[in-house]
């Protein structure tokens, strides 16, 4: 139990970021791992909501897809997909939306639709929007988890699939979006948070062993750095054990 991988650092810190949340709308992949880890460690009461229709799912192993049978079997309630999006998400009933991203910009806007591969090549397809645009719009707050690289953290999105803070601090209210938007971006290098004044993502924490320079080099725009950059607490043995048990299940 000494040592950990960058992905484990990312997942553990993403799980910790859920502190205080009562309900979480969970995207599949990294967000699902983090939300499930939170439920197994600090927040046993966390209500996991999956867009496939499961309210309060308690999977014993990490689901490969958002439609795995165990999600329905362990849920407090199973609802139709239209009901999930209309009554539960759109109405602003969920505390935190947890999203991944293919491309992210400095205002935490997300692209999961398509990437520009240069004038001579066709646009590259990504999976598309899924539930993300309305998760980003309607949850009380949004957490984003993704691996940190200049390919992912870009100066300009090729397509805006989901709105973070638009182009500044007033855009969400101008657009009539319900929640306060992204409050943290957790990567395998550290944590970025929107500046309270400008809404621009700012490096506020690095993971143990990571330097600010590393993060800057992995970011596709001139990254703002907080006056004091904290170091995230290392994963506790309990967190690591829970994470590894969950992945092995």
């Amino acid at each position: 139990m000494t040592g950990w991988t960058p992905d484990e650092l990312m997942t553990v810190n993403a799980a910790r970021a859920l502190a205080g949340a009562r309900t979480c709308f969970v995207g599949i992949g990294l967000p699902s791992a983090a939300a499930n880890l939170a439920r197994r460690t600090a927040q046993p009461e966390l209500v996991l909501v999956y867009e496939s229709g499961a309210l309060g799912a308690k999977p014993s192993r990490l689901p490969l897809s958002i439609g795995d049978g165990e999600l329905a079997d362990t849920a407090d309630a199973v609802v139709s997909v239209p009901e999930m999006f209309n009554y539960w998400l759109q109405a602003g009933r969920i505390d935190v939306g947890f999203l991944g991203a293919a491309q992210l910009d400095r205002y935490a806007n997300i692209n999961t639709t398509a990437v520009d591969r240069g004038p001579d090549r066709p646009e590259g397809r990504l999976p598309g929007a899924g539930g993300a645009p309305e998760i980003a719009a309607s949850c009380g707050a949004v957490l984003i988890v993704l691996r940190h690289s200049t390919r992912n953290m870009v100066d300009r999105l090729d397509f805006v699939t989901s709105v973070g803070h638009g182009s500044g601090p007033r855009d969400r209210s101008r657009l009539g979006l319900l929640g306060k938007g992204p409050v943290a971006v957790i990567t395998d290098l550290g944590i970025l948070r929107p500046d309270p004044g400008t809404a621009e993502l700012t490096l506020t924490e690095v993971h143990p062993g990571v330097t600010v320079e590393q993060v800057r080099a992995a970011t596709g725009w001139p990254l703002k750095i907080a006056g004091t950059v904290a170091v995230t607490g290392p994963p506790t043995p309990a967190e690591l054990a829970a994470l590894r048990a969950m992945k092995a299940a």
Partner: protein, 269 residues
């Protein structure tokens, strides 16, 4: 009342070249066997509608059945890309694929409008995104009470919707349970409805979480045990995650894919 038919008869009767076809099932209860029959019958020029195209539409697209895709999330869940979908969109293989792309909320409500006999649905969606710039099926409406501008999405009314369910009785009443997704809406929005089922029983027993579609709202029912594989039918099978993971390598290469379709669909009736 719904007609009880073989899958071959039902597909031949209900689905035609050029149709708008929705096959729904949100990870669970995906009508794979019906899609394979569509490939076997060589149907072409289809507009395929589905929130999550998944491996089932990767197969139909790669086999050349589709002209257009209406969708909201096109990946192999938990695995990665849909290579045949990407190859069609990016490189036009086996031929170009037009896309009409929405968010899940938009797609779900397009079916709701279709099932409700309304020409559109109102959603708090798409604001600030580029999604509306690439589709003609998103617009705006203004609330006559508050003045707020909201998104309007056009109703979806497929020519045919195909779903898979656990059971039907002999009158064609259908029951599905577990994650039931958007299947009721997709079925009720369509002009014709084909349901494949794990089994036909004498009498449906109401189940917790069960959704019942009366036989008079369905066109045809075909008994196809295992008809959702590699997806699953709660109570009958589990999701074949291994198949989904293996699909990545099968679908990455055109020749490997084509051989797979030949060996597993065309030459297996």
């Amino acid at each position: 009342m719904a007609e009880l038919a073989t899958l071959r008869e039902a597909v031949a009767e209900l689905i035609h070249d050029g149709d708008v076809v929705a096959m729904e099932g949100f990870t669970h209860l995906i009508p794979f066997a019906a899609a394979h029959e569509v490939i076997r019958q060589g149907l072409a020029d289809l507009t395929l509608v589905r929130m999550t195209p998944d491996v089932v539409y990767d197969q139909l697209i790669g086999a050349g059945a589709a002209r257009k895709l209406v969708f909201s999330w096109g990946g192999n869940p938990g695995v990665g890309s849909l290579h045949r979908f990407r190859d069609a969109v990016e490189n036009g293989w086996p031929h170009p694929l037009e896309v009409d792309e929405h968010s899940h909320a938009g797609m779900a409500n397009r079916y709701v409008a279709g099932a409700s006999g309304l020409p559109f649905a109102v959603v708090r969606a798409y604001r600030g995104t580029d999604l509306a710039s690439r589709t003609s099926t998103v617009s705006t409406v203004t609330c006559p009470f508050t003045g707020e501008k909201l998104a309007a999405v056009a109703a979806l009314n497929p020519d045919v919707t195909v779903i898979h369910a656990q059971q039907a009785d002999r009158a064609g009443n259908v029951q599905l349970w577990g994650l039931t997704g958007v299947q009721k809406e997709a079925a009720l929005a369509a002009r014709r409805v084909l349901v494949t089922v794990e089994e036909i029983v004498d009498r449906l027993t109401p189940r917790p979480g069960g959704v019942v579609l009366p036989g008079w709202a369905i066109t045809a029912v075909a008994e196809v045990p295992g008809g959702a594989h590699p997806s699953y039918a709660a109570g009958y099978s589990v999701r074949d995650n291994g198949f989904y993971q293996a699909w990545d390598a099968v679908s990455r290469d055109r020749d490997t894919f084509t051989a797979w379709i030949r060996d597993n669909i065309l030459e297996r009736p």
